[in-house]
């Protein structure tokens, strides 16, 4: 039953390396074929998609775009025999190829009409896709390292616990420090740190500095007395950094899709108009 999974080529292998980048070669072959067609069958008139090569490239491109867009449905079709990482591998390589196909199709010309809008949308989808693929490739390993064995939930619980400790320790210090520590560390939880990283970092650094200042100001304190609070504040800072980095990684992994997917929908709509207009004019 698990024969398909016991071959080591499919164990923990990034989708980009699926069968040694098989689909990269498929995509490269497709590109070579399309460039060949572009050069070997030059049209009589200007290059604008209306020639034999133009129609062929257009058809190939349209087919590819529809297939690429189908990925959104395929991704949610669960329980079949095929593996999604193979499909995604094909998606990214053929997705890059489609940009070239489209550019060849229009003869590298851009105007201010619906046809060129379709092209621009397509380039936008491809660009966002490349960004996403790069994120998928590079972020998980960094994210794992940053997490150091914790989960988001344990990190925020840890942060909350450190915050409580900082506030408790600050109580034996002057009021300005109590207030600063309170501002640095309350009200706790991960929602607090979202989007406020720089401010928090500044506050936290200020708090650490001020606690250390206590020594300089000579208010009758020993290093042993300030050390616990200073250390706790440093831990707080580290945890804020980790937590914000983790949230940033997560956001990056998710948010590029906010461009990729709606643009895909717009692209398909624009292409529909593009095709209708072309045939109507014909």
């Amino acid at each position: 039953m698990l024969a398909s999974m016991n071959s080591t080529s499919t164990i923990h292998r990034s989708f980009l390396l699926w069968r040694g980048g098989y689909y990269a070669w498929v995509a490269a072959g497709l590109c070579v074929g399309c460039v060949g067609l572009y050069w070997l069958a030059p049209p009589a008139g200007p290059r604008n998609g209306g020639s034999f090569a133009g129609y062929t490239l257009g058809t190939v491109g349209l087919g590819l775009v529809l297939w690429l867009g189908w990925f959104g449905l395929r991704r949610r079709r669960y329980g079949g025999a095929g593996r999604l990482d193979e499909v995604l591998s094909a998606h990214v390589y053929l997705g890059v190829a489609v940009a070239l196909v489209a550019l060849l199709h229009c003869g590298f010309r851009i105007h201010g009409n619906v046809h060129s809008l379709a092209l621009l949308l397509l380039l936008g989808v491809v660009a966002s896709g490349i960004f996403g693929a790069a994120a998928f490739w590079s972020i998980p390993a960094r994210m794992t390292r940053n997490r150091a064995g914790m989960t988001l939930a344990t990190m925020s619980a840890e942060l909350a616990a450190i915050a409580v400790r900082c506030r408790a320790l600050s109580l034996s210090f002057p009021d300005d420090i109590v207030a600063l520590v309170a501002r640095t560390t309350s009200p706790g939880g991960k929602d607090r740190v979202m989007g406020r990283r720089d401010r928090l970092r500044r506050l936290n650094l200020a708090a650490i500095a001020q606690v250390q200042d206590e020594l300089v100001r000579g208010r009758d304190v020993t290093p042993a007395e300030i050390l616990p609070l200073a250390q706790s504040l440093t831990q707080h800072l580290t945890m804020v950094e980790r937590l914000t980095a983790d949230l940033r990684y997560r956001r990056t992994l998710l948010l590029w899709r906010v461009i990729h997917v709606p643009m895909t929908v717009a692209l398909v709509a624009a292409l529909a108009i593009h095709v209708l207009v072309v045939f109507y004019d014909w």
Partner: protein, 808 residues
């Protein structure tokens, strides 16, 4: 006071006995510890649907029982007890039963005594809850159970005891109350991983205060005094909930003079055909005697009292047995077939009639023509096959058909898989017209814990066969007698070394069950070289070289059993049968090849290799050594999209059987919380209806139709992967695919249903079934867009690691 019949415990067994006694006019008394009937059922969660398994078993006697809610059943029983004139005494805990004259003297908790001619003991196996037992304890403040956590709000609550029950209570209470938990241990590791993670999180987040390594000493003026590592602490409280587990009733039962066949905690007292114990006049019914279902208990209670009153009563299982035997022995009487089995299957000859009847209820009788297949190499079926008539042929090696040992009448096959839980290592055919008795794994498990001779016989044969198949090299088994005589079975605990590097070479080993890692000290660090699975030979290298010492340490990864053959006998056998050294050298060679390949892979790789030892240690610590199929995510590839969980939910009634969140991770690998389909599944051990089974292809599945929701498996699975859930819901209720896609976030993984304490009348145990119901290919793996998710056996994973894991 003196009665004809005293019945102790008013569970279904005791109550049914009392109802029959009342109807037959037998002078009786029913003693119940609590203030209500049937405490075990009383304590089920509210509105629990009570199942009436086994469906085909008829119910005897006058105590009504059919599938229904807890309330309906208890209501019906109370009414019947009243209308039949059952003489119940509540709050009467029997603390001692002693022989006196021709009868018994029963002492109750309050010191009162009572005499009875005959005693029926039906106290179940729940035992007595362990009490706090500290000065100042007030029953209005100290509770041993939590019925409805929602009823408590704004209170200061102390939970004593950090097992699963304690943690679950603390977690359920902490949102609306101030909760302190008192834990004797230094951490929560005694609980299941899910509860442990949740509780640790709640403690870190400040919702629960935990006092570790602490114990309560006394209660005074609304304070609990607690002994902590930093001195005595006083904790003010409104209510204490103590969850300290139960004291099993075995001591009490033994003090009554009743013998258990072995020290195994699963052992049940030996009973006669009429459920009489070794103490004449003392009968045992219900769960205490090993009959874990309500209907069985009711039938026994009825039968016992009929016998005592001299009324005729056919055993309730008579019809079931007749149906079982009908195919193979049409027209024969049940007693004739039982006598036939006793005569032809020596393994079962020493059983009492009752044990034999019970065993046969879970056995199949087969008639084979010559050449029929019995089982196939590679199957995961683990039953034991006894040849009653005829003979079977065992194909050990398909390449060598001349080597086909016969299994004659009176012998059995299949004992290796039974213990190790591994795939069948040979194919077995009927050599001539044959009758076989197939004993199922659950029946075998019961026999092993209650009849010592069965285990001994199994062990004896297993040692012979393991030595023959591993070292035989084409010889007759008789030629190996020297080795067999020098062999014995040895058990090792998880992580215990079997062989230590540098030690003299004094024995050869064959692994019978479990698994082991081979490791060596290199540059001051332990590095793992390999993995031995059940049936594997090890410790052989030393015998190829005269004055060698052990070159590696071999350590059990989980509780394991090995055959140990003394070194002198091995050397003698080698001198006599030089071809045996070929077996040794080929074992050595394959290990060498593997390590050379691994080295080459490391040298030619630019990126540093993963720390294989650390990864192996992590996996071993998480019990992966006993897994057959484990879900592992490479965190360096995983984007955390959750598609694996969504896929599982979408293909399994909306309930994901895998949780990344509750998993454990180390060294860049995440072991999500999901069933690993253990070699010997712990979850199967106490399922009263045998709803959990292992398929021939290896997956361990729970049959939802049979499951009665008793949670025994939830408690037995050491990995906490089973949860209780109501099946049948729409996985995507509330959103449509377009909305989800446009949000760009993908399907949000449905929340894994953890137990909740309030409702749930028809909850079933659910866990990963390796997608058996969804096409047989793990949906979680195929749905992973990045290639980070894999499900495979641990050996393949380690091989893959050694042979060039990509270190990106």
């Amino acid at each position: 006071m003196r009665v004809r019949l005293a019945i102790i415990g008013s569970g279904p067994g005791g109550l049914s006995a009392a109802v029959t006694a009342a109807r037959l006019g037998v002078d009786h008394i029913l003693l119940e510890r609590t203030g209500h009937l049937s405490d075990t059922i009383f304590k089920y969660q509210k509105r629990k649907k009570v199942m009436a398994h086994p469906m085909r078993l008829a119910k005897l006697g006058d105590l009504p029982f059919a599938e229904g809610s807890r309330e309906e059943i208890l209501g019906g029983w109370t009414a019947t007890a009243e209308s039949q004139g059952v003489n119940v005494r509540y709050h009467a805990e029997a603390t001692r039963i002693a022989r006196q004259g021709g009868g018994f003297l029963i002492t109750l908790g309050d010191g009162a005594t009572l005499e009875a001619e005959t005693v029926v003991l039906g106290i179940g196996v729940q035992g007595n809850l362990r009490r706090l037992g500290i000065p100042g304890e007030d029953p209005a403040q100290v509770f041993y159970q939590l019925e409805d956590p929602d009823e408590l709000k704004g209170l200061r609550i102390i939970v004593v005891g950090a097992g699963d029950a304690g943690l679950e209570n603390a977690l359920a209470l902490c949102a609306a109350n101030t909760v302190t938990i008192i834990n004797r241990q230094a951490d929560f590791s005694r609980a299941k991983p899910g509860n442990m993670t949740d509780a640790e999180r709640a403690v870190r987040g400040g919702q629960i205060r935990a006092l570790h390594e602490s114990s309560p000493t006394r209660i005074e003026a609304g304070m609990l005094f607690v002994d902590t590592p930093t001195g005595e602490e006083r904790v003010p409280f409104d209510r204490i909930i103590a969850r300290l587990g139960a004291i099993p009733p075995r001591r009490f039962v033994e003090d009554c003079g009743i013998r258990f066949p072995s020290a195994d905690p699963a052992a049940v007292p030996e009973l006669s055909e009429t459920y009489e114990s070794n103490v004449p006049g003392l009968y045992i019914v219900g769960a205490l005697g090993g009959y874990t279902l309500i209907k069985q208990a009711i039938n026994q209670g009825h039968e016992v009292v009929c016998r005592i009153a001299g009324q005729p009563c056919a055993p309730a299982d008579e019809n079931l047995l007749r149906q079982r035997f009908e195919k193979c022995f049409p027209g024969s009487s049940v007693n004739d077939v039982l006598a036939y089995v006793r005569r032809t299957v020596p393994l079962l000859a020493g059983l009492t009639t009752l044990q034999l009847r019970d065993t046969m209820l879970e056995c199949n009788l087969h008639r084979f023509a010559a050449g029929d297949l019995v089982f196939r190499r590679g199957d995961y079926t683990n039953s034991l096959w006894n040849v009653a008539e005829g003979a079977a042929a065992v194909e050990i090696d398909p390449q060598r058909p001349e080597l086909r040992p016969r299994v004659e009448a009176g012998q059995f096959v299949g004992e290796l898989g039974l213990r190790s839980g591994r795939r069948r290592t040979a194919t077995v055919w009927a050599a001539e017209p044959t009758v076989m008795v197939e004993i199922s794994v659950p029946a075998m498990r019961k026999l092993l814990s209650s009849v010592e001779s069965v285990g001994q016989e199994l062990d004896r044969v297993a040692v012979r066969r393991l030595i023959h198949t591993t070292l035989g090299a084409g010889r007759q088994i008789a030629e190996l007698d020297g080795l067999i005589a020098a062999a014995r079975l040895q058990k090792f605990k998880a992580l215990e070394p079997i062989i230590t590097e540098g030690d003299p070479v004094d024995a050869l080993y064959i692994l019978r069950s479990g698994s082991a890692t081979i490791s060596r000290l290199e540059n001051g660090r332990m590095s793992v070289l390999g993995f031995v699975g059940a049936g594997g030979l090890f410790g052989e290298r030393g015998f190829l070289d005269v004055d060698a010492t052990r070159a590696a340490t071999i350590r059990a990864t989980v509780a394991s059993e090995v055959v140990r053959i003394e070194g002198d006998a091995v050397r003698a056998a080698l001198a006599e049968m030089p071809e045996m050294s070929r077996v040794f050298s080929s074992a050595v060679q394959s290990q060498m090849e593997r390590s050379v390949r691994a080295t080459l892979a490391n040298v030619t790789r630019a990126t540093p290799p993963r720390n294989i030892s650390a990864i192996t240690d992590f996996l071993v610590a998480k019990g992966v050594g006993e897994a057959t199929n484990v879900f592992i995510i490479d965190e360096k590839i995983c984007t955390g999209c959750g598609n694996c969980e969504s896929a599982c939910a979408a293909t399994h009634g909306g309930i994901s059987r895998v949780s990344r969140e509750l998993g454990a991770s180390a060294e860049g690998f995440l072991l999500p919380l999901a069933c690993r389909h253990c070699e010997t599944p712990h979850c199967m051990s106490h399922c009263p209806v045998d709803a959990i089974s292992r398929m021939p292809s290896g997956e361990v599945i729970i049959d939802a139709g049979t499951c009665i929701g008793c949670k025994a498996c939830v408690n037995d699975c050491p990995y906490g992967v089973i949860s209780m859930a109501e099946l049948g819901g729409d996985p995507h209720a509330g959103t449509n695919w377009l909305a989800r896609m446009m949000a760009g976030i993908g399907v949000l993984p449905p929340k894994r249903t953890r137990e909740d304490h309030h409702d749930g009348s028809a909850k079933k145990a659910v866990k990963c079934d390796l997608c058996r119901t969804a096409g047989g290919v793990p949906a979680c793996v195929t749905a992973c867009p990045t290639g980070a998710a894999t499900r495979l056996d641990p050996e393949s994973f380690l091989t893959w690691l050694r042979e060039g894991a990509r270190a990106s």
